[in-house]
Amino acid sequence: MGKGRIVAGCIAPHPPHLVYAENPPQNEPVAEGGWEQLRWGYERLRASLADKEYDAIVLLSPHWQTYVGTHFLGLPHFEGLSVDPVFPNLFRYHYDMNVDVELSKAIHDEAEAAGLPVKMMENPDFRVDYGTITTGHLFNPDWDKPIVVISSNRSTAYYSVEVMQEIMIELGKVTRKAIEASGKKVVVLASNSLSHRHFTTESEVPEDMSKEHITSHAMHLWDMRIIEYMRSGQSQRILDEMPEFTEQAIAESDGGGLSWLLSTLGVPDYPAILHGYGTIIGTGNAVVEWPCHAHEVSGQ
């Protein structure tokens, strides 16, 4: 078995509006479109990786929120109906997904060996969170790759962004280690928005794009600052400024996904590809790819 590797790492936001706007057969509500800039961004991401072979997707979702440790889906198959408790008018999705339990358990075991509190989720009645479903659908609408789903430990809420980063950087390192040991080719997804201040009202037609904009200028400035660091290969600066970004932009990075992703990718110093940016009910969202396959060091 050869050494496993990470093909790409991506920020893949999960607002259910994107699935709603696309009208896939799995989703019950019907839309007239909307949020095209982001949906086209996802199209470009999929096209960018279309000719790249990979075996599994590893995803960290901030909507599987765990307060006691980090959890991993631990059964091979989940199916059911996912209804977004916040936007049930937009997202009622019939999902059917396969889990790479072997890889999931491998990351779990590495994390446990590193001293992190972890648990496998093996209850067959468990309903997979809508963040996982949304990102999973948008990245891979055919659902033809097995997935590893990691919960979001809420250490930011319990302690601080700094403590969250310590945990997530460690979790990223063991994720990478487990992937490499598995011999598999993997795409890693952080399912989160950037700035995360919502509107508290919804327009009569939710997909009315004349109503869509960032909630404030400050949020825009933060989003652009972070995206510029991504585009210029300055991942370490993102980690360095994570406390301020998370607090001032009320960023969804509080769930640890972005810190975990950058750590899993080895804090890349090469430019990421921005496939799309847009706002969803006022929050800032970017579809970003770090093309690891193009930056592999010989012999690594």
Binding site: H71, V83, P85, F87, R92, A157, H198, F199, T200, T201
Partner: protein, 481 residues
Amino acid sequence: MSEGSVVGSFVVPVHPHTVLAPDENPGWRALRDAFDEAAQMIRDLEADLLIVYSTTWPSIIGHQIQADPNPEWVMVDHDFHDLGSIPYSFNIDADFAHAWDEANRNRGLQSRCVNYKGFPIDVGSVVALTLLNPNNEIPAVIVSSNMYANRSETTVLAKSCLDVIKSQGRRAVAITAMSLSNRMFTDFIEPTEDKIHSLKDDEWNQKILEFLRDGRLEDVGQLSRTIHRQIRVQKVVAFKPMWWLSAMNGNRNDLSGRVLAYEAIHGAGCAVVHVDPTPSGVGDKEYDEDDVEYFQGERGVLDSGTEINIDELQTSGHKESQHSEPPQEQTSGPELWDPTEAEGSVNTDSAPKPVGAYPHARKVGNMLFLSGVGPRQPGTNSIPGGPIHDEHGDPMNYDIKAQTHAVVDNVRRIVEEAGASMDQVVDVTTFLVDMKRDFAGYNEVWAETLGKVGPTRTTLAIDALPTPIAVEMKVIVHLGE
């Protein structure tokens, strides 16, 4: 039909341990026994409606109300999935849910009902309804906890709920599904190792329970932000369920409370508490924050510059609903005057402007004579409890108690401006525009306020007052020697 009311309130914990593993820890067992006792108390109260405000159902677009008459699914907790699954099938009062939704919007709140097969009812609601209403005998309603809502929005949410309880004549039980301190252990523990996460959390919990035991619910609400900073994980805005529960009980501090159990679940402070509306006879109302009838907060993000138009609320909500409440602002009426100045005049900016050329009060010797004082609010000219008719003269529902309280408050401001105090009031003449409808409510507020001072009183029925108010007082004060 008699007027509805909240006949009891309960605070209950949210974690699934009390349903799935009560016998794995003596504390969890005690909480489960307390749940069972609370369920019997609710049956004994002959409640016909359970209202659950759940902190584990966050919302963004205003508040959401469950309106599926029979939601069914299997709930698995995101953290404690290894304890097992909780199948549920609840009896939801969809009619009440829709009426509450409408009442919310009439009071300026963003609100909507949800009725979707497979909607994931949150763990706190599932635990509460599973244990407090095991046979689904009593219809229930569940409301979300808006993640951005603060005190005023949460208070108005309760008031709109009370509107519907009263208009439907319901015997309601209000339930908050919540932890006290909510810091859990961040590592896995054996059930036998469970305890409150820290001494500090335990001390704060004990203080909260002391207040609840004394029926000082509003005091807990007023301490909400402090409690949140001290013992709460900063994942939500404030310790808001106590705002809701206090407003559901009239923002009182003289309730009767009983703690049925207080224990830890994975480190969090969990209690089952019963709050009885029966006055305890002790406890003073220390009301530091504004009472608020209508929500006028930031809701115009989508259309910046758009403000809530109270007149629109009035015409769109009111004329279609006999249950809806009036708008607070009184936007029409006679011209307002600055109070006149003459020898002995007493005027203040903290009282409403006159509707003619006269002062708020006038001193003559050691006596102070007040002009007729109504409930209009200084500055805004709004009428607490709402005006008695709209700008077209069409009658509107209003709250005589709120109006009477506002009159007494205005009287107090003028009396204090004169350097006197309310216990120097010696004679009051009250004018009511609808004696039959309003005397009882007015009389009740009188007994709580001026009645304790002891002035002589005359109450007259009159045809109308210059502004759309229901009550006005003419007051004489003896300033002493």
